[in-house]
Symmetry: C2
Subunit: 336 residues, 2 copies
């Protein structure tokens, strides 16, 4: 294991301590460092957005707390759900009187704990609505899209719902926006090599030297198929074909595209992938309004990438274009 | 070699094509895709900043063309200098009547070609001043700092000189700012594993499983010493001790700190490193004004990190805090 760490068991706590030292104006611990709230708080009467999940996926989840994004985050161990107690602390911390959206990826532990936290918060008189990202098309058939795993596409849910909350919309409207984002985002990824959990110390599965896996999950969950390493052009076609067929996206649609690196893949390769994604969308009459290329949801040092496509309408386009800011993601309003 | 690429020989051109497709409002080719100018141009009478160098280091160099940053870039093959002709095209493209700053890393090929380009530009009547980044303290003794290699610290030179140019300063003032940045920045890195050039197909040198190299250059140039893998805390102490002694930095100084990932190191580990850098600076009475943590200058898929420290004065603090924007780097004026 070649990592810049101290004790493997301190991986998450050391990371958070470093983040709090590096960005002192950004986050406040709500009781402890595993429940973090935006220091600028939630303006009175604004809907709070609470998120959370396992560590090892930066910028997911913590990096999407910011202006025009989420307001608080519960931080679990590497690849493990935070507790209901942590989520409750975050829920209380981001409630400014207008209720709280729980926005997280669709995994069993996270779902269970957020549900428990919501019940406890409701008994405090805090209204909570939950929306789960479930964009990974490799994990269930299209008709069962709501049972799929959440992966990089959750970025679009943060961006849209965060902008809607910042506009002052009520909880139902913010939840509706988050639901729009997750219902209209499709993601498919590819892994070229496995990642190593610090406390385990060796890769969690193995690949042959010429092998890749289409659809592997961000915790190494099984994907759709193992294949011989493909050219970027062929890989793009495989990913785009499946993504477009899934929603389905159609001629005349306008979309945003996210090409995400899983941790150890250089950004040059993400652009090489996008180079082939762009003409495939153009051929089908799908217009790209905005692109995001980089590390938006990682899996420690996994080698690989994913492509996410969000279908836009007038509302979601406005919300996507709104400014947003955290130490992990910045977007000014103008330009692309 | 596990990369998302097409033909290895097309690595750079495919990357650039992807970048131009992903960010259509950003860059214009000056003749061809290897000489790129900011689409918004250089306002008449403003100093133009031209940069360039080998590929494989994104966001260096191309990613630092933007608002409040550089104005044009010559793009070489992987780890290879662009030609004088490309640099001349960029120099012409960014000249708005007030002359051009050549800002690049101190490597032999780049220096030679930028010098030839400057001579040709001068014979066109374009005044050119060159400033070279030479921040890598592993590459020569302190007294010979101007002969050192340029690495991640060039980011500070782009940031400060770009802000100064945007303020409307003349060429001598912009060059003075760039010189301030390079003279007051010190960087030291560590490599944990080698990178693979696409056209070569295997790592360019080898590491034992428990080995790291302090001071290795971003093209794999030899560093100061091979060591057994260290804990992040000990590594931070080694890097910070050498960096602070080199300028030297002193009690009462105010600085900016960049913790840079070399390509395949997860950002979590960069924060774990910073967690130990911060108290070491505080102990010596050095105040941190602003931090930058992430991938600012990579080396394809090299595993490792570097720490850069810039000593600030009133002018450089103002310039560092100014807004800047490119698809690879965004900073709004406010907050940290």
């Amino acid at each position: 294991m070649k990592k810049i760490i101290n004790d493997p068991a301190r991986f998450v706590d050391d990371t958070i301590e470093g983040i709090l030292l590096a960005h002192p104006d950004w986050l406040s611990p709500a009781g402890n460092n595993r429940s973090l709230i935006r220091k600028s708080g939630v303006p009175k009467g604004q809907v709070g957005i609470a998120t959370g999940g396992g560590s090892g996926h930066l910028p997911v989840f913590l990096g999407y707390v910011g202006e025009g994004l989420a307001h608080g985050v519960a931080v679990g161990n590497a690849f493990a759900s935070p507790s209901a107690r942590q989520m409750l602390a975050v829920t209380r911390g981001v409630n400014a009187g207008a209720g709280v959206l729980h926005l997280f990826g669709n995994y069993q532990g996270d779902s269970l704990h957020f549900e428990m936290a919501a019940e406890m918060a409701e008994s405090d008189g805090i209204r909570v609505v939950a929306v789960k990202a479930s964009d990974d098309i490799a994990s269930a058939p299209p008709a069962e899209w709501q049972s799929r795993r959440g992966v990089a596409g959750i970025f679009f849910a943060y961006k849209l719902a965060g902008a809607r909350a910042a506009e002052g919309a009520d909880l139902d409207a913010v939840a509706e926006t988050a639901h729009y984002a997750v219902a209209n985002t499709r993601t498919l990824g590819v892994a070229l090599d496995a990642c190593t959990l610090p406390e385990i110390g060796h890769p969690n599965f193995s690949f042959a030297d010429d092998e890749m896996e289409i659809g592997m999950g961000i915790h190494g969950e099984p994907g759709l198929e193992r294949r011989t390493l493909m050219r970027a052009e062929d890989l793009a076609a495989t990913l785009v074909d499946r993504i477009l067929a899934d929603l389905p996206f159609a001629n005349g649609d306008e979309v945003a595209v996210l090409v995400n690196g899983l941790g150890s893949t250089p950004v040059e390769e993400l652009y090489i992938l996008y180079r082939s994604v762009a003409p495939l969308l153009a051929e089908r009459g799908i217009a790209v309004h905005r692109t995001y290329i980089g590390e938006y949801a990682t899996s420690l040092d996994m080698v690989g990438a994913s492509v996410s496509v969000l279908k836009l309408d007038a509302d979601s386009r406005r919300l996507l274009d709104a400014p947003a800011r955290s130490p992990f993601f910045q977007q000014s309003g103008a330009g692309r």
